[in-house]
């Protein structure tokens, strides 16, 4: 990990602690050294192709976990992220992929993820997979996701709502709080070097 990456990781610990996510922090902390966030994954993209972390090598990756039946948090966050990318220069944008990873694989098929993600912008890719394929990635990113039953057999998902910023070499670089404005998201992305 680069010195910048290490600093960012330390900053992330501060953010997580400040946010009061004791469990997340505990799980994020390696036996020693900086928190380990991110890692390999094997999922399916919106075109039905198998993808791994290597598929996006050389690109900045903004990773957000959510689901397409999400009424408020996911569309709000993804639209703000899209608006943030609008504020970047075309050359900056081409080096960025937004990976929207479902926490609701039972309903979110590749075709649904494809259409949904693309509605927010050309940089957006939807990823899904089996419960077994998603579990290691959710674990690596310390993602919380829990089914929340509603009336008439319908359900929502309670879930982590935060954007993970991964550098072109795959290293965890920082977090974007979903409450930030698009202006602030764009400013921080530039600050990370994206």
């Amino acid at each position: 990990m680069t010195r910048t990456g290490l600093l960012a990781a330390c900053a992330a610990v501060g953010v997580l602690a400040a946010l009061g996510t004791g469990v997340l922090l505990e799980r994020a902390r390696a036996p020693q050294g900086p928190p380990q966030i991110g890692g390999p994954f094997a999922l399916t993209d919106g075109d039905g192709r198998p993808v791994t972390e290597a598929s996006y090598a050389g690109k900045w990756r903004l990773i957000y976990f959510g689901y397409t039946h999400c009424p408020d948090a996911c569309p709000t966050t993804l639209s703000k992220l899209g608006a943030a990318l609008d504020r970047l220069a075309p050359a900056e944008r081409t080096g960025i992929r937004v990976l929207f990873v479902t926490v609701d694989p039972a309903r979110d098929t590749p075709a649904i993820m494809h259409d949904y993600a693309h509605a927010f912008g050309p940089e957006f890719t939807g990823l899904t997979g089996s419960v077994q394929a998603l579990a290691p990635m959710l674990d690596e990113f310390h993602v919380y996701a829990r089914r929340h039953d509603l009336a008439h057999g319908d359900y929502a998902m309670d879930h982590s709502s935060i954007i993970y910023v991964m550098a072109p070499d795959g290293a965890f670089t920082g977090l974007l709080d979903d409450a930030l404005s698009p202006d602030e998201m764009a400013r921080r992305l530039r600050g990370f070097g994206a």
């Binding site: 997580l16 009424p71 408020d72 899209g82 608006a83 649904i112 008439h152």
Partner: protein, 136 residues
């Protein structure tokens, strides 16, 4: 343009109502608005023909988590307001009959504990919108 169908006794007024256009396959949506009231009142529910269900809901954000919470009712003090905004309280639509496109409007009726009902047309904004018409 927000259309309000007034009756003379109504104490509540709504401003800044909007909904975000839905992405393909999305069968849920959220309506955001601000309710103003001259007298103390209590919002107890919402109805629309556009979806199977409309519920008062809150996205509770803490520590990077987003939890969905049911909201039974919302008290509005005299000359006070209740704000429903992205990432917070919203009127959740479940089971949309069809997707919402920018330029559409959703017919919504709000119900208050004193029997007052307020009907309004909620404009649908582009998927990237940050707020109601006029807000960028």
């Amino acid at each position: 343009m927000l259309l309000l169908l007034w009756s003379p006794i109504q104490a509540a007024e709504v401003t800044g109502a909007w909904a975000r256009a839905t992405a393909p396959h999305q069968d849920t949506a959220a309506i955001y608005l601000v309710i103003h009231s001259d007298k103390p009142t209590k919002l107890i529910g919402a109805e629309t023909a556009a979806a199977d269900m409309a519920m008062l809901h809150r996205t509770a954000r803490s520590g990077g988590m987003s939890d969905m919470q049911d909201v039974e009712a919302v008290d509005i003090p005299a000359h006070g307001t209740a704000a429903f905004s992205p990432g917070g309280m919203h009127i959740m639509l479940m089971g949309l009959k069809h997707g919402l496109a920018a330029g559409d409007s959703v017919d919504l009726t709000l119900s208050f504990a004193d029997g007052e009902r307020l009907r309004l047309a909620v404009p649908v904004q582009p998927i990237r919108a940050a707020g109601p018409p006029g807000v960028r």
